[in-house]
């Protein structure tokens, strides 16, 4: 079987922050490739650089040195607006704290990436409804986030991530604010998404969560410590 195309290709990137007089090396010479259809967990203790790497992968930030090519495009030198376009089109974010707009209904939250993509109103609504139905929230799409449970909020966030049909889904501690039963439901949802063909990248510090992925990349002190396939999925 021919190998799937490389979506994420990071070569020797580093990230240096200047904090006062001190220079902090959040990432030192990290290289990583992720192919379409993979299910990868990025693991590491706090301070390991995994958040920095996630920001980099999500095109929220650019490396100090090295190259990052996303689906064949060099994003390490792109400006803010080009990065915004890539995030809008190719990356679906799922955050630990959900990051929904509190005053907008679930439907409006899910529509938002399509607004920025320039999709017309009626198609926007249709696609947002479809995405919400796919995560099992067809009944609650007119509720505001504060009228939904944590698990439901995270489902809205997932629907928002999926609605643009992105190349990758990037989930940062997606179960961190959920009880374990709801967390399991969310992980099942990610598993289903992966099985239906999506590329999923999980950022987590919990072994239990990371075990759902098929490949685990461990970071320590800004370096890749190990990069192994995971066969013992739950």
């Amino acid at each position: 079987m021919a190998e799937a195309r490389i979506i994420i290709d990071i070569a020797h990137i580093s990230k240096v922050y200047t904090m006062g007089e001190e220079q902090v090396h959040a990432l030192r010479d990290v290289s990583l490739q992720i192919r379409a259809g993979e299910y990868v967990a990025l693991m590491g203790p706090s301070g390991s650089g995994k958040s920095t790497l996630m920001n980099m992968l999500g095109c929220l930030d650019t490396p100090s040195s090295g190259h990052y090519s996303f689906d064949g495009e060099d994003v390490s030198t792109m400006d803010d607006d080009d990065l915004a376009a890539i995030r809008n089109r190719d990356i679906g974010f799922v955050f630990q704290t959900f990051n929904l707009l509190p005053r907008a209904s679930a439907l409006r939250n899910v529509e938002l990436p399509l607004v920025y993509a320039g999709v017309g109103a009626s198609e926007r609504e249709r696609r947002a409804e479809e995405a919400l139905e796919n995560v099992g929230l067809g009944e609650r799409m007119h509720h505001r986030p504060n009228e939904l449970s944590g698990g439901q909020r995270q489902r809205v966030a997932i629907a928002r991530a999926l609605v643009t049909n992105p190349s990758i889904i990037l989930a940062d501690e997606p179960t961190g604010n959920l009880d374990s039963r709801t967390g399991q439901e969310i992980m099942t949802l990610f598993g289903n998404l992966w099985r239906s063909g999506h590329t999923v990248i999980l950022v987590t510090h919990e072994e239990d969560i990371a075990r759902h992925a098929r490949r685990i990349v461990r970071l320590r002190d800004g370096l890749v410590e190990s990069d192994t396939p995971n066969t013992q999925t739950p």
Partner: protein, 419 residues
């Protein structure tokens, strides 16, 4: 730059943000409200003065030219005018009869401070001696009776056409026609009452009477008086032609040497235009100064609250950027919000302005009996409202620029981390 969907999203966000902070928004717009009220009041005042001016100017008639010894507008060297020779009756009559381009041209002589007596009532006013043709000018149109006739001109009959105020004083219940009043002790029969003309500083017009020139000569004498020639050009377009002809003829009649200055003045209603323009400019400068000040204060308030809004919504900006909002999108979102804030200010200001305008007019007309104010509209004109809206939106956009710029430049990673 941004799509229609993004713009309508921006408007939706701005409205919802405003509604969730309604009290704060309303308080913030205070400066803008004052600014808009001032713009509207200034515009209304200038419009009102224009209306009063228009009405005033129509009393004498826009197409009227007066050839006089004196200059109405002043400003020239008074002593120099004093050395001019009086315009004699012959000169005035000659000019009147020679002028070809004008519709009407008549000699005119005036005595100020004449006494008018009717039974035990006595008042003072001006007596004008002129000829029958003057009756066709706006200043001498009668509402009752008639102006004198060419026969009365020729005979120098002791007939009088009285001004509105004089008729009202002597004959409060009407019936002036056929009655007799004494002018400087001589009896004159009232044959006509001039329409009410007095208005603003033209009030003296209602306090004068017209008698035939010959009667003026025989009863009041012509010593120490200077004649005028009243010319009705016919229409405003003819003014230049008529003026040129009158100047040429008069220089000839008074044998002014070529190259020497005219030894007479050409007076037109236009002479007052400069004064009216000065008043207008004065109001405009003061109004503009206050307006700019109010908008400046207002825009600082708006800018301040927009900075607060940007800070409060840092997280939201981060989320929007993460899911694909470009810089321009965020910029427009906050500009729309700031403009909307000012628009709210303008809308709050309108009822205030209307109330002020309506009560100002009510005070002037009904309380202080300032008759000129009736020419002024009690409503704010639509075009002023549109100007006020446009100005406030522009102020909003300018005031929102710095906060919106800051919002658009936020780093998404840091913005997302903000709690």
């Amino acid at each position: 730059m941004i799509s229609a969907g993004e713009l309508s999203e921006s408007i939706r966000i701005a409205v919802s943000s405003l509604r969730s902070n309604l009290l704060r928004a309303v308080l913030t717009t205070g400066g803008v409200v004052v600014g808009v009220v001032l713009v509207v009041l200034m515009g209304w005042t200038i419009n009102g003065l224009d209306a009063i001016w228009e009405k005033t100017i129509s009393i004498i008639g826009k197409d009227m030219i007066y050839v006089d010894k004196w200059d109405w507008a002043g400003g020239r060297n008074w002593r120099k005018l004093e050395t001019r020779k009086d315009i004699t009756m012959d000169q005035a009559t000659l000019l009147s009869s020679s002028l070809e381009s004008a519709e009407i041209a008549v000699p005119l002589v005036r005595q100020w401070g004449a006494s008018f007596v009717r039974e035990n009532l006595s008042i003072r006013g001006a007596v004008m001696g002129t000829v029958s043709a003057y009756g066709a000018t706006p200043a001498a149109t009668t509402e009752e009776g008639r102006f004198f006739t060419p026969i009365e001109d020729a005979e120098g009959s002791n007939v009088v056409v009285v001004g509105y105020a004089i008729a009202r004083t002597f004959f409060p219940s009407g019936g002036a026609l056929g009655q007799t009043i004494k002018i400087n002790g001589r009896p004159f029969r009232v044959i006509g009452v001039v329409e009410k003309r007095g208005f603003l500083f033209m009030d003296f017009i209602d306090q004068q009477v017209f008698i035939p020139l010959e009667a003026f000569r025989s009863s009041l004498g012509l010593t120490n008086v200077s004649f005028s020639v009243a010319i009705k050009a016919g229409n405003e377009r003819m003014l230049d032609v008529v003026r040129d002809e009158a100047i040429g003829l008069m220089r000839n009649i008074r044998t002014v040497q070529p190259g020497a200055d005219d030894d007479f003045s050409i007076n037109e209603m236009k002479a007052f235009d400069a004064q009216a323009a000065n008043i207008r400019t004065g109001i405009w400068i003061v109004g503009m100064g206050l307006t700019i000040l109010a908008f400046l204060v207002g825009s600082i308030g708006i800018m301040n609250i927009m900075f607060v809004s940007v800070t409060e919504r840092t997280k939201e900006i981060g989320i929007r950027k993460a899911i694909g909002a470009k810089r321009a999108t965020i910029l427009v979102q906050f500009l729309v919000e700031s403009a909307l804030l000012c628009l709210v200010g303008a809308i709050i200001a309108f009822p205030f302005s209307q109330a002020i305008v309506a009560s100002a007019r009510w005070l002037a007309v009904d309380v202080f009996d300032f008759e000129a104010a009736t020419a002024v509209s009690p409503f704010i004109p639509i075009d002023l409202l549109i100007v006020a809206i446009v100005v406030s939106v522009i102020v909003g956009l300018l005031a929102g620029l710095a906060p919106a710029w800051r919002a658009s430049r936020l780093n998404p990673v840091e913005a997302l981390r903000f709690e």
